[in-house]
Symmetry: C2
Subunit: 222 residues, 2 copies
Amino acid sequence: MHDAALVFDLDGTLVDTVYQHVMAWHEALNDCGIELSIWRIHRRIGMSGGLLVRALARELGYGLEQTTIERLQSEHGRIYRERNKTIVPLPGAKDLLELLTRENVQWAIATSSHRNTAQTALQALGLPAETVVITHDEVERAKPNPDLFLAAAQKLDVAMKDTFVVGDSVWDMLSAQRAGALGIGLLSGGYSLSELVDAGAYRVYEDPADLAANLHELGLRI
Amino acid sequence: MHDAALVFDLDGTLVDTVYQHVMAWHEALNDCGIELSIWRIHRRIGMSGGLLVRALARELGYGLEQTTIERLQSEHGRIYRERNKTIVPLPGAKDLLELLTRENVQWAIATSSHRNTAQTALQALGLPAETVVITHDEVERAKPNPDLFLAAAQKLDVAMKDTFVVGDSVWDMLSAQRAGALGIGLLSGGYSLSELVDAGAYRVYEDPADLAANLHELGLRI
């Protein structure tokens, strides 16, 4: 085994699902009578659902009842699952994971989603049975808290300083920094290069295919 | 009348429709058997539909038949119109336009869309009958060519150097520069601040409401 490992975010990093999540949140908010510009929702994707709803409410300038917050989260999950029976891996995602396995580089997946929402995306990747997957069900606090990445690294038995966190959102980069890992940004979730660099990304690639082609830049001994 | 005028892009600048256009293109492409990551489509929104399709095909590494290009454009229009019967103005859009009218500052709208696709968005804004609206139907080449903005300024009878172009995409900024106008970026289409500044934006605001609150930064004598 190598002395370094990679922990991947899921939505926007391995599967092409960020925009579907954005639209599902938009619809859930509308259903609850909350009108919010779509770009503001986009910029919050990747953080814990509870935190996302609270952050959006703050942007609107008013607080939300706990029951509304819970209703929004379950509505988002329902709409997202209903609308997206088919989920497509991002270019190169499966090849990248297979390459890492073949080269004995450990890797895991860590997502802010709950397991029932992440299910279809995980299936779309055709993961080996032994894959380490940490969801919001396994930790108390999702991103941008460091819990998900810490749990993933612990399960892989690798030190945080030897862990690369690969993600598409600034929340992944913030989470990575708080966990003491190096952040690698991907543009495939719709954030720009400078937003990811400003949030601490050590390198930024277009998508998993681009990362696979430049894996040597991480200095992995493969 | 003031000696300066504002020409507004439509989608993502005055109405919250960029993400709906992204998803409609994604579906149209899928229907034609073309699989393309959604973020790449997002980054092309705002340019002419024909150019968008050609640019995406280039990213895929292959050419497209003229019939496929035309089919994609009409499919996109059909899906977009079908899915989006209701269109929401961005925060402050209507107030901003009314403020300009009240202050005798001339303004117009210039969009890469054809008139039948732009129709619902234009209606949602409740525009005065005399509003100058330039669509792809009025000019040969849409953005990032300067034709739309040139036609709008000509109709307002104002010089390009006295015209502020307000848009949410780098294509608006490119188009503005080619037309010899000053570009004002808005984040409401999902581009980041640095992308808009890098493309030549003189100032960047969150959305129409934020621009209205900071209109004095454009030095308009109102």
